[in-house]
Symmetry: C2
Subunit: 306 residues, 2 copies
């Protein structure tokens, strides 16, 4: 096979209490990568379509390019890759657009190898790709895209945590952008141990609640006291959208990735269906149109597409 | 019934990666409290035996006394309690001695109520008792004493996490004391978000590993990068004792509570039995005699005794 295409879904990074380590995939939006095997041991970006942002075309600064360079180098491939990207995730939305291009390209390229690797083994390459955009090796977006569903992503590897199929996420993406670097800047500086202990307690309850499928535990845990208070002021309407979700029975609501998208978790699709327009209306009331996605929290893994 | 006695086991606070929120009980050492119901609505400490330390005899500054005052006030009891304590846990050992007196007294007093409360409902009183000694409301010691085994203790409530019965802990208590306040002082000051993220990843793996009974996950997670590096220099021989445990196949090893006791987790009693003398020898090589405890990690809950 000389060419393959893959689709990687959007994701909710951090899930509020798992800064840089927890995420889950979201059905309904994603990036598509078409990868061709070429004789020259080079990695080239042939085209980027669908993005309004000026994404890097030089491979080493592009997340998909950097990921495939890492794969080529680690596997000592004698050939190269040419990549076409169709961006379906809006730039700066906090939905993991940088990660999706990297993962889609890796899954497509993997299909072109003599001996394709298991998904877990693509993870280090995906981290390198993500780092090209964010500057850091954090797997909270690439992890769930590779495995699907809720994923705990450490520096070394990925662990999937299955949640009940009934649980659904509403993600609302306001038509505003927030650069990851700016969202990270507000986190600089020192943090008190006290805040970390509180966040740790929430994280532990959240992980346990997901693993047990216990909505009360998730409800107790899904409260970000470390990052959200610093980032929320950057997102007009955040508090209102979050409150709209909680009023509709959300287990919790916070910022998706670096924002400005806002997510909320619900115990059923029916609840999510009712909450979604209320969350959208809350953004509209502050002057922002938005796109709404409703997805199982056990969202899809990236896959080869025709 | 006018009098009851209860025994509360020692505990490993923090379990390395769960600062102030995770702990487990340890069989083999503990405090005993004998509580008498008295007509006057007072709480009095009648005797403290077995401790070489000069523990407070005025009830509000004694952990057992403060816990029973909290119970009396919250439940609006028209009577009071007189308490005798038999301390079996060495002062300043990092084995939860302050907490054990509070929990033993509460469990005994609870048996004297017209309508005894479930263990979870004793938790706020136990936190108040613990705060009399430590100044903070953290339940990582009182929690496992109340419920047994590994417990996640948030400010609001307790969650037990069952681990495989085969898993055992070795706790080595060197004949040296380390005041909790001094051990806390080294943690003052700011912490970098980067360290929090690393610790969070470990915590999440550890909790998931306990819940799944997955030793590899616990092994990946039981690594304290936040607190242990600051406290280890206060404990002569710590690195050698930890290394001795790891050399014997420990899933992980760290400081019990505020120290100076050191604990290690093993997948079997056989492994723990072999490691215990090696850990003790490592302390001895640095000039400290020590007591050794080997206990199932699913350790006992406090109970009424004759």
């Amino acid at each position: 096979m000389k060419q393959a295409s893959a689709f990687a879904s959007a994701s909710v990074g951090n899930i509020g209490v798992g800064f840089d380590i927890l995420g889950h995939s979201i059905a309904g939006a994603g990036d598509r990568a078409t990868v061709r095997r070429i004789d020259a041991p080079q990695v080239r970006i042939a085209a980027i379509r669908g993005s309004t942002a000026d994404l890097p075309h030089d491979a080493e600064h592009n997340t998909a390019g950097a990921a495939l360079i890492a794969m080529r180098d680690e596997l000592r491939l004698a050939f190269g890759f040419e990549i076409e990207l169709d961006k379906g995730i809006a730039f700066g939305s906090g939905m993991g657009g940088s990660a999706a291009s990297a993962v889609a390209a890796l899954v497509a390229a993997n299909a072109l190898l003599e001996a394709p690797l298991p998904r877990q083994d693509l993870y280090p390459f995906a981290l390198t790709g993500e780092a090209a955009a964010s500057g850091g090796r954090h797997g909270d977006n690439v992890g769930p895209m590779l495995l699907g569903g809720v994923v705990l992503a450490t520096v070394a590897r990925l662990w999937r945590i299955a949640v009940p199929d009934a649980w659904h996420c509403v993600l609302v993406h306001p038509h505003a952008t927030l650069e990851t670097r700016r969202a990270r800047a507000v986190l600089a500086g020192a943090h008190a141990l006290h805040d970390f202990v509180a966040q740790s307690a929430h994280l532990a309850q959240f992980v346990l609640g997901c693993e047990r499928g216990d909505a009360d535990l998730v409800r107790a845990g899904l409260r970000d006291v470390l990052v959200e208070p610093r980032r929320a002021p950057l997102i007009t309407g955040f508090e209102q959208v979050k409150q709209a979700a909680l009023d509709m029975g959300a287990m919790g609501s916070s910022i998706s990735g670096a924002g400005p998208s806002v997510f909320a978790w619900f115990e059923s699709l029916a609840q999510a269906d009712v909450a979604a327009p209320a969350m959208r209306a809350a953004f509209a009331a502050t002057g922002f149109d938005s796109d709404v996605f409703i997805s199982p929290i056990n969202g899809p893994a990236a896959e080869i597409v025709a």
